[in-house]
């Protein structure tokens, strides 16, 4: 699965891309199997000139059996989102966020913490003042990045080996709690 993220003009250098995500608000149709434009609350996806939207309600993109999940601003702090990806065996998480540099530094610490629990490769595209910067995050205790502050990213991703996680007997506790989520009263 070959993914390009960045300005669509840079994407012309690469051949055989499966997914192109544009950070600049426009793109060339049919440049890849699936093309998309990143926005604050949603992603515009084009498959053979057919347009669909991916948003918080509908996050997943399944391309050649490779599962990509999209997250937005508030999903970063939300452990629900990461856990949902863990049980759904997501292969790649892509965040599209609009944070200032100061906040972003703290957010990376939180993302790392969350990713260590679920272990899924993650790309974050942060846009401030019309400049998009791309970060490829590896979950480890050194808080490392594979790519940092980049304007575009081209990479080949392999499908993750699916490990069946049982979580021990705590799964019963979780099921118990999930039964009642519709009736919980917010403080």
């Amino acid at each position: 699965m070959r993914v390009f993220i960045g300005n669509p003009l840079n994407a012309l250098e690469f051949i055989g891309t499966n997914l192109i995500l544009s950070t600049s608000g426009w793109l060339l149709n049919n440049q890849a199997d699936v093309v998309g434009i990143l926005n604050r609350e949603y992603v515009e996806i084009y498959v053979n000139e057919e347009k669909t939207y991916l948003s918080k309600e509908n996050r997943f993109l399944n391309l050649n059996d490779f599962l990509v999940a999209f997250g937005f601003d508030k999903d970063i702090l939300n452990f629900d989102f990461y856990f949902m990806n863990l049980v759904n065996n997501t292969d790649l998480i892509i965040f599209s966020t609009y944070y200032s540099d100061n906040v972003l530094k703290k957010m990376f610490l939180l993302i790392q913490s969350n990713l260590r629990k679920v272990n899924i490769p993650t790309i974050l595209i942060n846009s401030t003042d019309k400049i998009s910067k791309i970060y490829y995050i590896i979950p480890n205790y050194q808080n490392d990045f594979l790519v940092k502050d980049s304007i575009y990213l081209y990479s080949e991703f392999k499908k993750k080996e699916h490990k069946f996680q049982t979580f021990g007997r705590y799964i019963l506790d979780l099921q118990d709690t999930l039964c009642s989520f519709r009736v919980t009263v917010r403080r």
Partner: protein, 234 residues
């Protein structure tokens, strides 16, 4: 029989003076505001020094007390401490060998790793508090359960500072161990937490406002999790 059921009676004559003088000093004590939760760390389970630290703690507005030991505490002693705790009307949390005890309101709650997560929660002025054993801190399902339960403070028996810090970040909650307090990386540590050798003060108002502003429950995600979990039910 009476002698066995009510232990404090047999010690009453020895400690009468201490208890009464302590209660006398506590008349009209102040209470710290609802936004701050104070936890007082006692260093000794000796009866006389317990009375002393209760008096000192309550006088400064604390009503959660904490004690850590790696040894087992004899049953009789637990009962005696429970009776004393009840006089003062405070929460007393004891980490003992392989188990956690919480005393409040004439009852002693015993928790070990077999106790379900649902039965461990208690709340003080609308903040939810729970307890975790070492092997549970890094389990994603446990973290998810606590997230659903909207926990604010966790007492952890795990010694790994990495795991505890991660848990604190995952849930945006305070994690307390016998040696340290872990605050989410989103906060400035000195602003929300104050720790000295025998007391911890945590700012709950700030925690709640961050939680209300930044965390949202996406029911679509929860439905997906629920569906997935139901599908691999045994």
């Amino acid at each position: 029989m009476m002698f066995q059921r009510f232990l404090l009676k047999s010690y009453y004559w020895i400690f009468k003076k201490d208890i009464f003088s302590s209660l006398e000093t506590l008349k009209g004590h102040k209470r710290i505001t609802k936004d701050i939760l104070g936890i007082y760390i006692t260093s000794n389970l000796n009866f006389r020094s317990l009375i002393k630290s209760f008096t000192k703690g309550i006088g400064e507005g604390f009503y959660v007390f904490f004690y850590f030991t790696s040894r087992q505490i004899p049953k009789q002693k637990i009962k005696l401490i429970k009776e004393l705790t009840n006089i003062y009307g405070i929460h007393f949390i004891i980490f003992s060998k392989n188990c956690i005890l919480r005393m409040f309101d004439n009852r002693c709650f015993y928790m070990d790793s077999q106790t379900s997560l649902k039965d461990r929660i208690f709340s003080i002025s609308s903040s939810k508090i729970t307890f975790l054993f070492p092997e549970e801190v890094n389990n994603p399902a446990v973290t998810m359960t606590l997230k659903m339960q909207n926990i604010d403070i966790i007492f952890s028996t795990n010694i790994s500072s990495y795991f505890n810090q991660d848990l604190s970040n995952n849930l945006i909650a305070y994690v307390i161990t016998d040696k340290n307090v872990y605050v989410p990386d989103l906060f400035v540590k000195n602003m929300v937490m104050e720790k000295t050798k025998d007391m911890i003060k945590l700012n709950l108002k700030y925690l709640k406002s961050i939680k209300n502003n930044y965390l949202e429950t996406n029911y679509k995600d929860l439905t997906l999790i629920k569906a997935k979990l139901d599908s691999f039910q045994i």
